[in-house]
Each structure stands twice: as structure tokens, then as C-alpha cells.
């Protein structure tokens, strides 16, 4: 644990150097505040919005709206992509049916089909959640398939020679064997969805941390943009850390053979 923190020191140090550089450039380079707001200004803006909110919603409400959309989409993606991926890994026919669909839509930029989603599902949360869902689905699906595909066949063979039914093999052997890869997918997905968040809040939103940044950019409020980006970044680190912690609790055998 001490080692863990000892290594974290370097990350903090690197962040500190960047902060310092930011401060020095803002202080001495004499740039307009629109190009580069000062760290102090951004912090001030943070307190201001923290107390008064931004355009009718408090900062916490903006963040909560975004996270609500994110979590609903994340949950939906998890309960569909992971089981489908695991099944695809076991059933070659299902896999050859689903793989082309996923590889077709996966590289598409979310904004390309967002309009269609809005036309179909309206301008409320539905289309936003659908967009996030699609962003998160493919990484979870792909790594779940890979988790099964990479498994040594001895695991299934061994379980069968012990008398296990196919059902028991799936739930007690294939699923845990694939779990480390599933978690890789869960973390990749979170990153993907997070980066889609701003795009999802572009259309007809009146709240959300992504919307706040976009709205501020219309009025060139650089300090609000900076503040929003930093809040999103820190939230991302917290979410990824939570997932990492969960992974170490659940897949406790990973990397210890």
C-alpha cells in the first residue's frame, strides 16, 4: 500500500508541474482571458457556480443529470452487451450474426447517427441515453467475446468430465474465466461513453455538465469551459478508480497464478 502511494506521488508531481506552468503562462504571457483564463479565475468561477448555479441549475444538478444519463446507459449496455458477448463467444453462429453489425457501427462517429436517434426518440433523455448506450455497447461486447475465445478449452473439458451440465459450465466456469476481460471492456466502455457525453448533450439539453461546457463556449466563457473540463476529468478519474477497485475485489485471482 505504501508503494502504491509512493508511485502516486509522481502523478501528483506531474499534475503540479502543469498547474504551475499554466499559472505562470497566464500570469506573465499577457494573453487575453478568453484564450487562457488564469487558474485563480477558474477557481473563482467554480465557487461562483457552486453557489449560484449555471443557468438555472446548480453545479451538482448539472453533474447529477449527466451521471444519471451515463449510469442508465451504462447499466443497459452492461446487461445486454456482456451476456450477448459471452453467448457469442460460446455460439459461433450467434457470433457471426452479431460481429458484422458491431464492427459496422463501432467506428462511426457518434454525431453521425445522433441526428437519426433524435428523430426517432425525441429530444429528451431517451436519445441521449441511446447514444451513450451505443458508445458503451461495443467495447463491452467485444471484450466479452474475447474473454471466452481466449479461454483454454481444458476449462470446459475439465468441468464436463466432472459431470457439469452446459448451464453449470456457462455460469460457474465460462463466466468467471471471461470476467477479467469483461472488466477490461467495462473500463474501456466507461471511457468511450464519457467522451461521448458532451456530444449527447449537444441537442436540446438544458442541463448536464457537457451541456454547460457547450453553452459556455457559445459565449466564449473560457473560465467556465476550463472549469467544466476539469470537473469532468476528475469525475472520470473517480469513476475509473471505483471500477478498478471493484475489479480487484471481484476478480481477485487476476494476475496471481
Amino acid at each position: 500500500m505504501r508503494r502504491f502511494f509512493a508511485n502516486k506521488i509522481y502523478g501528483v508531481l506531474a499534475a503540479g508541474i502543469i498547474l504551475l506552468a499554466w499559472y505562470l503562462v497566464a500570469r506573465f504571457a499577457d494573453l487575453p482571458r478568453i484564450i487562457l483564463p488564469s487558474p485563480g479565475g477558474v477557481l473563482q468561477k467554480f465557487w461562483l457556480i457552486w453557489e449560484d448555479g449555471y443557468k438555472g441549475h446548480s453545479l451538482v444538478a448539472h453533474l447529477a443529470d449527466s451521471l444519471r444519463r451515463l449510469f442508465i446507459a451504462y447499466g443497459l449496455a452492461m446487461v445486454t452487451a456482456v451476456p450477448l458477448g459471452l453467448l457469442s463467444g460460446c455460439l459461433p453462429k450467434l457470433r457471426s450474426a452479431l460481429d458484422p453489425l458491431v464492427s459496422f457501427y463501432r467506428p462511426l462517429p457518434p454525431l453521425a447517427y445522433y441526428t437519426v436517434l433524435v428523430l426517432w426518440m425525441g429530444i429528451d433523455d431517451g436519445s441521449k441515453i441511446a447514444l451513450l448506450f451505443l458508445a458503451g455497447f461495443s467495447p463491452m461486447y467485444i471484450s466479452s467475446v474475447a474473454g471466452v475465445a481466449r479461454m483454454r478449452p481444458d476449462y470446459v473439458n475439465g468441468a464436463k468430465t466432472l459431470g457439469a451440465s452446459s448451464q453449470r459450465v456457462f455460469f460457474l466456469v465460462i463466466f468467471p474465466v471471461a470476467l477479467p476481460d469483461v472488466f477490461v471492456g467495462l473500463r474501456t466502455s466507461l471511457g468511450f461513453m464519457y467522451s461521448t457525453l458532451v456530444a449527447a448533450e449537444m441537442v436540446a439539453a438544458i442541463s448536464g455538465i457537457g451541456w454547460m461546457v457547450l453553452d459556455a463556449s457559445k459565449y466564449l466563457q473560457s473560465d467556465v469551459i476550463f472549469m467544466g473540463i476539469i470537473v469532468m476529468g476528475l469525475t472520470g478519474i473517480v469513476l475509473d478508480g471505483a471500477l478498478n477497485l471493484l475489479e480487484r475485489k471481484i476478480v481477485f485471482w487476476k494476475g496471481r497464478e
Binding site: N157, T161, G163, S165, L179, E257
Partner: protein
């Protein structure tokens, strides 16, 4: 972990160990087994026209160089792959697919890392829906038998290689399979651990009268364990010679390893190695006794 001293054979064990050809019914009958890879001109036989029987209570070792198709034979017996030609009879019934009557111990045991040692051993009886009380009792018995009683609650990654293989053996035996198939189970272990594991398996075989089919590329291992050895040669994999051995039994009866240092042991060893290398050595071959096929004809 020191192996427990060998217990004397149970009193109901017949004094004269039945030789293979005195038993009327074979447990396993492999008939004209061949397995081909590829198609057309690239077609290559992994094993070609392999015939053998395994009789109840035997310890059969299949010995041969890497790539001779030893593991292919085991995979067919286990039901993991179907032969291209031929069939396997288990108690006169043709096998199809995998079931728990044939237990398998792999070289790298696919233990369930997400379970404890206890849960790994209990996996078989649980899968077969045995009553809870019975499972508790028999898991304790089989952990005791492989010397892992104190390790029941440990996670798999806390075990050494030899201990993992002990779990794998207990996990298979608890189902009381008709035959235990072992695929180079000690090939990845260090020499000292390997010897302990050989003693353990020999003891289990002797006390439980389990039939064991054991693949190895180690000639000493085959000589020290087997009551019968099938020697394979490669490309295409086929059984060149089979013969009976008494070293394993001598070891148990003497509770002493002098059988390993007898002249007989070294002659048999040389004969097998010559056979695999394709060297004909009449003197050495005489050590193996008459070819079993000839004996059968008499």
C-alpha cells in the same frame, strides 16, 4: 509436505494381481483408432490404427516421444475429440462425448481460480446434485487422501504446482470415475515434487484399485508406475510394443525403492529407449520378455 507412509494393501485385495489377459472383460477397448488432420494432400495421421485394451485395476502408461500422438489418444478416450476411424468401448459400450465416468487430470490443471480448494473438490459432486452432507464428508476424505486437509479454505493461487495437481487429482477421484486419465500430469513439476506425486498416485492406485491410464514422456516415470506400458513411435503415431512390468508393485510390496536400482530395471529402460529411437538391440529387447501379441497367440 512429506508423503505419508504407504499403508498396507487392504486385506480384500487378491494376493495375486490379475494379469491383463486373465481378466475376461476389458474396461476400455480401443479399436482401430485413427485420427487425421487436414484434407486432401495435406492429410496427416496423428495416430494410425491404434488398438489396445485396458483392464480393471491396471496402471497403464503410454510412453513415447513428444508429438507421437499420446495426448491425442487420451483426448479420444476422454471424449474431447472423436476419432476419424475406429471406436472406443467403455465396458463394452461405445463412448460418445464427455461424462464423469472418465476422470481427467491435465498437465496444467484447469483449476477454478475463483473457488477455494474445498469448492474445487466439491465441484463434481455438486454438479451431480449429491446431498450436502455426503459432499461435506467425501470432500474431507479426498482432501485427506491427497494430504491437503489443512488447505481446504485456501485460494488456488496460494498453492504450489504440486499442490494444484493434488487438488486436480482429488477433484477427479471424488466422482469415483471408472478410469482416471492422466495427461503428463507431473511434466511441469520439479524432480523432487514429481517423485512425491508419483508415490502419491501409486499409493492411491493401489489402495483404491482405480484403473489409471497415464501419459508420460519420461521413461523412468513409466517404469516406476505402470503395470503395463504401451510404447509409441511417431509419424504416424502408433503403438510399437506393449509389455507388462512389475516394478511398481515390487515397490509397494517391499516398501523400498531397491527395484529402481535393479539390473532388470535398467535393461527394461534401455530397451524402451532403443525402441523409441529405432535402434534394434536384441539383448535389451529380451529384457521386455516375449512380445505380448506373440504371447497372446500361444
Amino acid at each position: 509436505m512429506t508423503p505419508e507412509p504407504l499403508s498396507p494393501p487392504p486385506p480384500d485385495r487378491p494376493e495375486d494381481f490379475p494379469g491383463p489377459y486373465e481378466v475376461p472383460e476389458d474396461l476400455i477397448g480401443a479399436q482401430n483408432l485413427s485420427l487425421y488432420y487436414g484434407r486432401g494432400e495435406k492429410r496427416r495421421a496423428a495416430i494410425l490404427n491404434v488398438n489396445f485394451s485396458v483392464f480393471p485395476g491396471e496402471f497403464v502408461c503410454v510412453m513415447g516421444p513428444s508429438g507421437c500422438g499420446k495426448s491425442t489418444i487420451l483426448n479420444i478416450l476422454a471424449g474431447f475429440v472423436a476419432p476419424s476411424e475406429g471406436r472406443v468401448l467403455l465396458s463394452q459400450k461405445e463412448i460418445s462425448g464427455v461424462d464423469w465416468h472418465r476422470g481427467v487430470v491435465f498437465q496444467k490443471p484447469p483449476l477454478f481460480e475463483w473457488f477455494s480448494v474445498w469448492e474445487n473438490v466439491a465441484f463434481g459432486p455438486k454438479a451431480r446434485h449429491r446431498p450436502k452432507e455426503e459432499i461435506r464428508r467425501s470432500v474431507a476424505v479426498f482432501l485427506e487422501r491427497v494430504g491437503l486437509s489443512a488447505w481446504a479454505d485456501k485460494k488456488v493461487y496460494e498453492l504450489s504446482g504440486g499442490m494444484k495437481q493434488r487438488v486436480a487429482i482429488a477433484r477427479s477421484l471424488i466422482n469415483d470415475p471408472m478410469i482416471l486419465l492422466m495427461d503428463e500430469p507431473f511434466g511441469a513439476l520439479d524432480a523432487l515434487t514429481r517423485e512425491k506425486m508419483q508415490d502419491l498416485v501409486r499409493k492411491i492406485w493401489w489402495n483404491s484399485r482405480k484403473t489409471i491410464f497415464f501419459i508420460t514422456h519420461d521413461v523412468d516415470e513409466a517404469l516406476k508406475l505402470a503395470t503395463r506400458v504401451l510404447v509409441m513411435t511417431e509419424s504416424p503415431g502408433t503403438i510399437a510394443r506393449e509389455f507388462s512390468l512389475g516394478f511398481s508393485r515390487a515397490f509397494i510390496e517391499d516398501s523400498d525403492d531397491r527395484a529402481w536400482f535393479s539390473e532388470e530395471f535398467y535393461r527394461a529402460r534401455k530397451a524402451i529407449l532403443d525402441l523409441i529411437a529405432g535402434r534394434a538391440d536384441r539383448d535389451a529387447e529380451a529384457a521386455l520378455g516375449p512380445r505380448l501379441s506373440e504371447k497372446e497367440r500361444e
